[in-house]
Symmetry: D2
Subunit: 240 residues, 4 copies
Amino acid sequence: MSRNVIFRSTIDVELVKGSASDLDVVFSARVSTEGERTRDHEAGELTDKEAGLINFLMRERHGTPFEHSYFTFYVNAPIFVWREHMRHRIASYNEESGRYRVLDPVFYVPDENRKLVQTGKTGAYTFEFGTDEQYAITRVQLYHTCQVAYSAYEEILAAGVAREVARMALPVNIYSSAYVTMNARALMNFLSLRLIAEDSQYPSYPQREIEMVAEKYEDIFRKTMPATYAAFVKNGRVAP
Amino acid sequence: MSRNVIFRSTIDVELVKGSASDLDVVFSARVSTEGERTRDHEAGELTDKEAGLINFLMRERHGTPFEHSYFTFYVNAPIFVWREHMRHRIASYNEESGRYRVLDPVFYVPDENRKLVQTGKTGAYTFEFGTDEQYAITRVQLYHTCQVAYSAYEEILAAGVAREVARMALPVNIYSSAYVTMNARALMNFLSLRLIAEDSQYPSYPQREIEMVAEKYEDIFRKTMPATYAAFVKNGRVAP
Amino acid sequence: MSRNVIFRSTIDVELVKGSASDLDVVFSARVSTEGERTRDHEAGELTDKEAGLINFLMRERHGTPFEHSYFTFYVNAPIFVWREHMRHRIASYNEESGRYRVLDPVFYVPDENRKLVQTGKTGAYTFEFGTDEQYAITRVQLYHTCQVAYSAYEEILAAGVAREVARMALPVNIYSSAYVTMNARALMNFLSLRLIAEDSQYPSYPQREIEMVAEKYEDIFRKTMPATYAAFVKNGRVAP
Amino acid sequence: MSRNVIFRSTIDVELVKGSASDLDVVFSARVSTEGERTRDHEAGELTDKEAGLINFLMRERHGTPFEHSYFTFYVNAPIFVWREHMRHRIASYNEESGRYRVLDPVFYVPDENRKLVQTGKTGAYTFEFGTDEQYAITRVQLYHTCQVAYSAYEEILAAGVAREVARMALPVNIYSSAYVTMNARALMNFLSLRLIAEDSQYPSYPQREIEMVAEKYEDIFRKTMPATYAAFVKNGRVAP
């Protein structure tokens, strides 16, 4: 009668829609200096001068021209990732509701690519792979807890109690999905804080699972706005 | 040698680009209740059930599903309009810069459709048309001032002084252009405060010239998101 | 060796500090009409005219004068409450971190004052008390789950695995504490959405536990800014 | 009958009120690591460890602990300064209204300390003092324009036309006053963009008159939150 509990180790990010391009950066920035809507070409490669303008804006921290490009993502990730994600306030969210629907028994567990052991002091942790035993203990404990928790959820629901009460039993590694809309400036801020990159001016220490979201965002961002992405990286991944 | 001063009585609004539709509202809202990215049809008419969902969201003030739709406008308006417009903080702006370029001698004057005389008490003013003499005085004084001011601007520039200093002479009715990006929720907030409408739950008393901007925004909004616009009007033009 | 699990049914809210008063609303609003910093009296009762001005601002939705008053709260609440709270983006948060510290085994369970059974359709639920059996099942299941989950958390930690991994086992009813700073305008928005009140112009259907936070915020707000609170209630609890 | 026009070359900033201190940064940050409201001492000097924590937060760009400290300023500045100031959206404003009151004839003119001549290319201008003749031309032209403009304003008002129409004649160097509330994080962002400082990691090129506002903000900030200010400067004046 009770549903099978499913375990996953990946996170899904899809680009639902967007209105984002390097040219939008160029055209909006040119309003400052030309006072007109000069949109002389609609597509194709950026000229060197245009790419140079984008690099200038990034370097001089003129952030507003990057706000006219938007991305809407559909993301499926564990709740502990959403808890960190939603601290980014310059974004729009619509998340699956445990008050309106019965949540599916899908839970996150780290796989063997996820480093488990933390060393170093606060704010500058590094992570290392664990022993086989450490992976085994982590998985066994998470599997057991999730099964007990989801079973409790089902029992409480079966007794006729509201979904919003029953969900209190569910652990933070349960998956939840949401629409996320961010402009390119906010997205660069997200990437600067949630990705580990050697070429960063300011190192960050994100939890691996939100970094997995950031890696997928970065991939979409690089393909959609290649000159902006190149300027971002060139300038030390400091969001303008 | 000095440039001719031009007077205008209109305000320009163009939709540069957008990613806005009633379906985006529906699909993002459904994540709450279905937890999936159900995007079963891409275009065409909304079903009655979908239009009903939009009306429900508006009435219950579930504002976030309206945040995934974006509009980028190019607007050419006098500075006194921009001063009010930029008080709307949930928006992105790139405006023509008087530090980077010499501003053109184009100034706003009210035409005979613009009511000139204010009656009533603070916060509930009504406006009436003026006499011919009132229109004449207004125009003559504005014409004269703008000519003197622009001439001063040119004289200061001609002396080799910086543009950012010379512009101090220019009056607030000089035109300036900007890119403005807003999501549909912020746009409804703008319309609720900057339009006079008999079917508003809460009356507003905007200055006529920003209402002229709002009228053009409203027209674009109605065409782009007809079901959302209808629900907005039906629910007393209260932004969710 | 393992820690005792503690269950609670209350939520704590303290006012850490604030700079909030009805007079600040009056003085900031007067800048609009008088252009000066008139701060003719520093304390004591508001005059009738001053209370009338506050009511006017609320009714006409002039929201900005309410933004100069600030509250900093210290709140201890379950994670499922924080998940809703942090959707309010016009606020500042510093929350306890499960990456930096071992979380304490304190969990929320509904007591007998918490209605358990939901009736009615989406968006307009009402709640009723449950049977003794429903309360018993809810508690037993939550007790059992929390004990299993916290034990798993301890086992994973004991194996030398990072806190940020071990916490994945913990359920959303574990308590977490945070500093929350909001201005009076954002606070009224919070109250309008998170409190059930018969005198509301727009009914809301918050989960009971975030309403418990809102009730404590409301109490502090009423004492600190009595004229603003009175105007808020008088105008249908619509945030300006 | 017409009012005398007054010219000034300074900008006024007063601290109206605040709830800002280094200790608030420390106490809010400690919630992350200690999960409790540890407020062990209320005043007095920071310990070295506390100052070190503030420096750590600044360096690692943990910005949120700086958001619980607030400043409310009363500022009297020309409109062209307000135009730039209000582009800072993480702030609250209440400004004098030319719709509600007749504006006073007080105008800004640069004095001999204000460099007038701009050299260099876009985005990296430097300024030099002008010749006596350049100062003379600037002043004469501004004096003349302001007198003509204010006289036009008075004539239009005298004809019974609304204040909101008459003000269209007024130049952007007329003074206007406002309440401005910002938290310490937003204030550091303002300072990083609006002050020229040799110890800045990222140079800025603000217009001199908004820098005059920033200098006064900086002075108040340094006195109110000395350890935070020291950490800001030490870390290259990069806002966290």
